[in-house]
């Protein structure tokens, strides 16, 4: 528990200093914890767990776009759980519930709890279709076809810089669209 959180903090520090592999590992490592917490929160609010993956993706996008608000001298877990809690409350409220999310939802997870992805997320995928063509193509190439930035640049005859810009804008507008819905 403590150890895992220290590991997250270390990975996030590496990520901030430019290590994308560390960032990838960090996101993979927090996802099951977020998923379990989202399920617990939904269950507590009397909602079916099949929206949990949408909430997880929403949290991951917020973590990504707001990571500059994390103080590299502070532990990562409290920051992460604050974002997650905020997103979970938001998701439940959007579904017409006034809710109180228990802080404990994020404070501990039972390791044996099944937290694999079951019902796939649909909201991000749906909003992806509404993006400008260039952003959608780049995002799809990198996310779905797992192409690198370099390969994506070659495929669409773009510069790598332009691919990076389209990728970031795509992620930012996905998040904006999710918020508006």
């Amino acid at each position: 528990m403590r150890e895992r959180e220290d590991e997250w903090t270390g990975l996030m520090r590496s990520a901030i200093s430019g290590d994308s592999a560390a960032y990838h590992r960090l996101l993979k490592s927090v996802t099951p914890v977020l998923r379990a917490a989202a399920r617990r929160g939904l269950a507590r609010a009397g909602q079916p767990a099949d929206q949990s993956e949408d909430i997880v993706q929403d949290i991951l996008l917020a973590v990504h776009l707001k990571r500059h608000t994390w103080d590299a001298n502070a532990p990562f877990a409290p920051w992460l759980f604050a974002i997650a809690r905020n997103k979970l409350i938001d998701a439940l409220r959007r579904r017409g519930r006034r809710v109180f999310v228990n802080i404990d939802d994020f404070a501990e997870t039972i390791p044996s709890e099944p937290a694999a992805e079951t019902v796939p997320a649909s909201e991000v995928a749906a909003q992806l279709q509404a993006l400008p063509a260039r952003q959608r193509d780049v995002l799809q190439s990198i996310a779905v076809d797992s192409a690198s930035i370099k390969d994506t640049a070659a495929k669409f005859a773009m510069s790598e810089g332009a691919v990076r810009v389209a990728l970031h804008r795509g992620l930012a507008s996905l998040t904006a669209k999710l918020r508006e819905q």
Partner: protein, 212 residues
């Protein structure tokens, strides 16, 4: 898009670096300040006897109070732009301008005054004060909210109210150089009401605009 795919795209975007919230907030306030300053010179202007007024410690105190409010509110708002932050440990900063006012009021009580207390409190400019400070605040409030949107405040109404204090503190600093009422009692009454009004607008706007 499944979650693993989303994570892949986020990791690919790791090289993107956002500017710190403080930088964006300062830039936005600097961009909005000329609008408020223009409003000030178009409608009010500096009071004509400013050179003699500067020798009055109660005139100077107004700036100490309003600037203390603006600076402490900026510090608190930057703190609140982090999702895990609460007011605890930082809220006391907002007591600094209040403390200065209390000290000013006690100072005034201890020195002989020409005018009775109620006359000093009511002053001559209360209505101008109540309209000018909120009006000059609005461009700055919009800027402060824009800056804080770049952060991740998990209590958007509170963060919006603090953005209101930032803008009211700056607008009141401008207004203080126009107003001929220097009594700390006047400041404590009318500046406070005007500031509370702006904070309420900020809370309302913040609860919509600052959600992320």
């Amino acid at each position: 898009m499944d979650t693993d795919q989303l994570i892949r795209s986020l990791a690919a975007d790791n090289s993107h670096r956002a500017r710190p919230v403080g930088f964006v907030l300062m830039l936005a306030l600097l961009a909005a300040a000329p609008v408020s300053v223009a409003m000030f010179f178009a409608e009010l202007g500096v009071r004509p006897d400013v050179m003699t007024a500067m020798r009055n410690p109660f005139f100077d105190l107004k700036f100490a109070v309003t600037l203390a409010l603006a600076i402490s509110a900026i510090a608190v708002s930057l703190h609140l732009s982090r999702p895990e932050a609460s007011l605890r440990g930082f809220g006391w900063m907002l007591l600094v301008p209040a403390g200065l006012l209390v000290a000013g009021i006690s100072g005034e009580m201890m020195t002989p005054q020409r005018l009775p207390m109620m006359t000093r409190l009511m002053g001559r400019n209360s209505m101008v004060c109540l309209t000018a400070i909120p009006a000059m605040s609005l461009p700055l409030l919009a800027a402060a909210l824009f800056g804080l949107r770049h952060g991740a405040p998990t209590r958007p109404a509170v963060a919006g109210a603090i953005a209101g204090l930032v803008s009211a503190g700056l607008a009141a600093t401008l207004y203080a150089s126009h107003c001929s009422d220097d009594s700390p009692l006047f400041v404590a009454t009318w500046y406070t009401i005007a500031t509370a009004l702006v904070a309420a607008i900020g809370a309302l706007a913040g609860s919509r605009m600052l959600r992320f």
